[in-house]
């Protein structure tokens, strides 16, 4: 692991323009694909590589592509999900700001494999810098015959457009994204039909994360076996598809000496990431815990930092998957109530309001935590929090999308793992008048 050379981030610090990208070997995997591989072969390679989506759900990329209807007259769309709004996550931003053409090459390979002819790159509004870097790169790609009609003279036609959001987390949910793209309120759709069958503008649509697409470039370049040589196989021999393969971008933030984006083969432990890459917890303190993969995934206590950050191992500690691989560390002096309050406030603010359990449930959890922080907590509050957290979401079957699962999960997780601290907090009746409380009504 020590001698791992970055793959996705290999060009950080190199010029962003297309000439430099090509000089570094860029767009050669695309040429190779167009010259030597048929679309079904690419889909098979991506499946063989065991590439799982980097956007949070971890679904097999090749399998998703294979769900598209065969012989569809078109058009087929590709939506690149650059909404990246899971709190404490910024690896897509870093990837695009440092190597936009790598993402475009991934887009082109995906379009070739799926026969999509239009790619919409949906950027969250806050990523203005990344969107402008991407716009420049798209312009260069058109000028070099790498976008538009008859790409590289091989008959591939792809147009790519940037579409910018307007500050709503729910636009990252793939059908919320599609509704938003269509000019409507970003209310997620009931599935099925899945986007592969009926997505944007009621046509077959593939939604992928830009890191997933960047991985495809290197699978074509170096082969499925190479990709599988990085990472960790499934712990269940009966389900080999559950392995965690390839390079992965990890984010580190919070009470850490060196926050940032790090590329590491899948499966590093939380402790190792914090110590080896993040330079340890700040101010010489100890960690109390960490959010392992974006707020939705849950909370690890410091005693659980032996958990490997992959698709499999986190379940040992009741964490809901790898999420966005964004680790946020909080130190021993942080109040768990503050952390959980921040999480509840986020989800209550971002619930799209379409499903009653999510709209009301996220609001109730926030109110209970507000009350607790106003010194008015009650002992039974903890059971109510855990109960609400348990009842909202697509997993119990009460809502349309996964936002509510992500809202409930970390709260019930925290109540279970930090119950004693919550109880002591409530008993002390301490008050915490924060800015967020004071400004809550604006």
């Amino acid at each position: 692991m020590a001698d791992f050379e970055p793959v996705l981030l290999r060009r950080v610090g190199r010029p962003l323009d297309i000439w430099a990208y090509r000089a570094d070997g860029g767009y050669r995997p695309l040429e190779k694909a167009l010259n030597e591989l048929q679309p079904p072969q690419i889909i098979q390679m991506v499946r063989d590589a065991g590439l799982r989506g980097r956007g949070g759900a971890g679904f097999s990329c090749g399998l998703k592509w294979s769900f598209l209807p065969k012989d569809h007259p078109g058009p087929i769309y590709l939506c690149v999900n650059i909404d990246e709004s899971e709190p404490c996550t910024f690896n897509n931003r870093y990837l695009i700001e440092n190597d936009p053409h790598q993402v475009i090459e991934g887009v082109l390979l995906a379009c070739y494999a799926t026969r999509a002819t239009t790619a919409y790159l949906y950027f969250r509004y806050e990523y203005g810098k990344a969107a402008r870097i991407m716009q420049q790169a798209i312009g260069e790609a058109y000028a070099h015959g790498l976008l538009g009609d008859n790409i590289l003279g091989k008959g591939l036609n792809v147009n790519a457009y940037i579409h910018r959001g307007a500050g709503a987390y729910i636009c990252g949910e793939e059908t919320g994204l599609i509704e938003s793209l269509e000019g409507k309120r970003a209310w997620p759709r009931i599935k099925p039909p899945y986007p592969a069958v009926e997505g944007a503008f009621r046509k077959p649509t593939v939604v992928n994360n830009p890191e997933t697409l960047s991985c495809v470039v290197h699978i074509i370049d170096r082969g499925a076996d190479w990709f599988k040589s990085l990472g960790i196989p499934s712990s269940d021999p009966a389900r080999p598809e559950r392995g965690s393969y390839g390079p992965k971008l990890y984010n580190l933030s919070g009470h850490i000496n060196k926050p940032g984006t790090f590329e590491i083969p899948m499966g590093i432990t939380t402790q190792e990431l914090i110590d080896k890459y993040g330079g340890g917890v700040w101010k010489g303190k100890k960690a109390k815990g960490a959010i392992p993969g974006g707020l939705s995934t849950g909370i690890l206590t410091a005693a659980e930092f032996d958990a490997r950050l992959d698709y499999d191992d986190l379940a040992r500690y009741e964490i809901m998957g790898l999420g966005t691989a964004a680790v946020t560390v909080f130190d021993e002096d942080t109040s768990i109530v503050d952390v959980v309050y921040n999480i509840a406030r986020f989800f209550s603010h971002e619930s799209c309001g379409q499903c009653t359990p999510c709209r009301e449930g996220t609001g109730w959890m926030l109110q209970i935590l507000e009350r607790m922080r106003a010194g008015q907590g009650r002992r039974e509050d903890l059971d109510i929090l855990a109960d609400v957290g348990d009842r909202i979401g697509i997993i119990p079957g009460t809502t349309i999308c996964g936002l509510s699962d992500g809202a409930g999960w970390p709260i019930k997780n925290a109540v279970k793992k930090f119950r004693a601290e919550f109880e002591a907090y409530i008993k002390s009746g301490q008050k915490k008048q924060t800015v967020s409380l004071a400004l809550a009504h604006h």
Binding site: T89, F90, E126, Y127, K184, R185, N251, F330, S436
Partner: protein, 160 residues
């Protein structure tokens, strides 16, 4: 009285070839108008709807979903929109204090603008720049590591 200039209308029309229908141009159109006018009036909504061959209610429905757009003139944006992140990584490193301090120094509250019309203060959920917490977004570009010693400089820069 028409409120959209021919220039804005043309910029909106320029988006049509990118999408299979005109409704998909709703967000781009709202951004174009909002950036220029600093709010989107009812009349502007009507004119956008006419261009996109939609009912004004459809445009308004979409617009009101995103709490991003200002609808009223008295609540329009100042010259620069300054978003302070209140996400977890920022909270852990002084984000809430940053929001309070900036509110005091600018003599305004999130959602409002300074008396000189130059700065609109906002809070934001995680802006995806947590490696530089606490951080802010100036319109749509992040500024990292806005520690207490940098607050005055930031305000002076935005007031210029």
């Amino acid at each position: 009285m028409a409120v959209l200039s021919e220039e804005i209308k043309q910029k909106i029309r320029d988006h049509f070839p990118r999408y299979p229908n005109k409704q998909a141009v709703t967000l781009p159109a709202l951004h174009l108008v909002h950036d220029t006018h600093r709010y989107v009036s009812l009349e502007a909504i009507r004119e956008i709807a006419e261009l996109l061959e939609l009912s004004p209610a459809e445009v308004h429905d979409t617009m009101s979903f995103y709490h991003f757009f200002r609808e009223k003139e008295e609540n329009r944006l100042g010259r620069t929109r300054l978003w302070v992140c209140r996400g977890l990584a920022c909270m852990l490193r002084g984000g809430e204090e940053l929001l309070t301090d900036l509110g005091k120094k600018l003599d305004t509250v999130p959602g409002s603008r300074t008396k000189d019309d130059k700065i609109s203060l906002e809070f934001a959920e995680c802006i995806g720049a947590c490696e530089g917490a606490p951080c802010v977004l100036i319109n749509d570009e992040y500024r990292l590591d806005v520690t207490p010693d940098k607050q005055d400089g930031l305000i002076a820069e935005l007031r210029q």
